[in-house]
Symmetry: C2
Subunit: 360 residues, 2 copies
């Protein structure tokens, strides 16, 4: 199967995740294929809708590669959405313009929860087809990252039915009927593991679990309702495909206080948001995992010299990796749709040039 | 002056803040006078608007005391809003129904920033009048807390002009024109210190600084743009009034990673949100400060036995205070307007009964 894809020309990102030496700090950006790029907005207009893009492998390939045409990024990430999985479970996903995602059938009672099943993966074939087509089109330029939402983060949307400020509905269920919440999370964990494994089989060279809402949970509750299920997912992942190691990144936004426990999840790398001190984080995880992060995306609204200074701050905070350590540069959250595209040029140049100098 | 107020009958809250022994864990709730109470909604309807309540000392007194009529809370907190200060600076505060606060004249350019001045305190006399009237009406039942937003949190609203999801506008200024941001924060710090001191002179027996948006800042940036200015405020506070110590609480929501630095701010107590492990936090701060927190407000949507169990978890996590330590029970954020009032009864009973048992 490996023969279907070209050999990798730039493996810096994968090496950093696997805590092997690299000449510079590789970088990619969460949501790098997105609305801040005019070419993305043009393709999206053609496709008619967000899901029109995501469900069509040609479009998904086109937009995935757009940021790589502009910037010397060290990885590509599948263009998709974390809500494809609950959609395939029958919850009825739609995107109302300007309002974010909605589920027509949120999980609000015991009957709905107990009827939940992991999806038939064939209904997600469009995702796996996109992975394969993107990997082929990349032609070995950089590695391709596959991804999924975490079981808890998916559950937030599945119960709330949409985004939420306070997670009142999903947390009401969590505190009042923990048995129902565990049932959802167990189902989600099985679905996420199968989904990521299918992405790996289709060509993903690394996978990332986005626990966007784990940081909304209380200490103790996070460990029981989010981390435990990510651990369950990671334990079921194919960690090797065609004889090649497939590293796994886990990212709980707002999870800095739980770093040591997240580093014990079995993942190869831990994503960090901008509230975390990288020097302290590196000391805490030692040689157990690589770290990914952690620039505040709002830095990209400043002028190039300020972007340079803030990038230097992040790189100096992590420092020069020792043997058996690794750092992947990223933002601490998805890039804002309002980001000036030229800011990303300044960012990429700064990360590559400063980190090369630091390692020289 | 002290003769104008009745002697305090329940000083448990103040004793805990000052790390003196108490028979049980005192509690109050952020936003305890608020929309979850039908009697509050009735008074607000009479007053016509939120600011109609806040600017009228009779109404402010009435709603401040409402939760104390229902629940055995150990402190009252002035009914007001953190945005009274920027309003008095001439930014033009209004509350659009269902949309939250708005400023007619947000700080968007150098000219507006450089024209900013600390307010004439006489324009905030309605707040100090409310403090005195509440204190008198309390008649010594429980202590009265005064409060202010932190310099940074006020700046967020002053620059954004309203609430924000991503703080793009205020952070753009912070990263691009740190000189302007420091000018705002310095002005705010002077204003906040004077405002809190005037509340103390009017009768506040403890003060709290709400740094609601400090947790949105990057590591390093938080210390420079939020914590430094809270330290400046605290350094200027009257810590004693009429021979009585006035303790100060500082609360950065999402600031758990910076706990040791916050504990060094000069405050008597540090507020914690629910993401923080209280046992670890207690070990980190030692005997330096008391801790306040940290139940997830969403627990109040569960049934009484679950509320009891979650309260027990928080109290057990802190444990029995040693001599020279103190714990004040609170939520990790303001109580939700959707909270069933009877949940608060269960909460108060649980905190008092479990903590009395633990200390017996």
């Amino acid at each position: 199967m490996s023969t279907q894809f070209a050999p990798l020309k730039n493996d810096t990102f994968l090496r950093a995740l696997m805590r092997q030496p690299t000449d510079y700090t590789p970088l990619w950006l969460m949501r790098q294929a997105g609305r801040y790029l005019p070419e993305y907005r043009a393709t999206r207009a053609q496709a008619g809708s967000f899901m029109g893009l995501a469900t069509n492998p040609d479009y998904a390939t086109e937009v995935t590669l757009q940021p790589l045409e502009r910037y010397k990024l060290d990885a590509a990430i599948l263009f998709s959405d974390i809500l494809t999985v609950p959609d395939a479970m029958g919850l009825g996903l739609s995107f109302a313009e300007g309002e974010g995602p909605r589920f027509a059938h949120p999980l609000r009672d015991e009957k709905a929860v107990m009827a939940l099943r992991a999806p038939d993966l064939s209904s997600l074939q469009y995702v796996f087809d996109a992975v394969t087509q993107i990997r082929k089109t990349l032609d070995g330029r950089v590695p391709l990252i596959g991804f999924s939402g975490s079981p808890w983060t998916l559950a937030c949307y599945m119960v709330e039915g949409r985004g939420s400020d306070d997670f009142r509905t999903v947390k009401s269920m969590l505190y009042d009927r923990p048995d129902l919440m565990h049932h959802i999370l167990k189902t989600n964990a099985a679905a996420v593991a199968a989904y990521l494994n299918a992405q790996i089989e289709a060509g993903a060279q690394a996978v990332m679990i986005f626990d966007t809402w784990g940081g909304a949970l209380a200490d103790g509750v996070y460990q029981e309702f989010s981390l435990a299920y990510m651990r369950e997912v990671i334990a079921q992942l194919k960690r090797e495909h065609d004889g090649v190691r497939i590293p796994c990144i886990v990212f709980t936004k707002g999870g800095g206080l739980w770093l040591e426990e997240i580093a014990d999840s079995g993942a190869d790398a831990v994503g960090l948001d901008w509230t975390v001190n990288l020097a302290q984080a590196r000391a805490k995880v030692g040689h157990k995992v690589a770290l990914q992060g952690n620039l505040d995306p709002n830095v990209l609204f400043a002028k190039p010299d300020q972007i340079h200074a803030q990038v230097e701050r992040v790189l100096q905070s992590y420092g020069r990796p020792e043997a058996g350590q690794g750092h992947v540069f990223n933002l601490g959250h998805g890039i804002s749709q309002f980001t000036p595209p030229e800011s990303v040029t300044a960012l990429v140049d700064a990360v590559h040039s400063i980190s090369r100098r630091m390692r020289a």
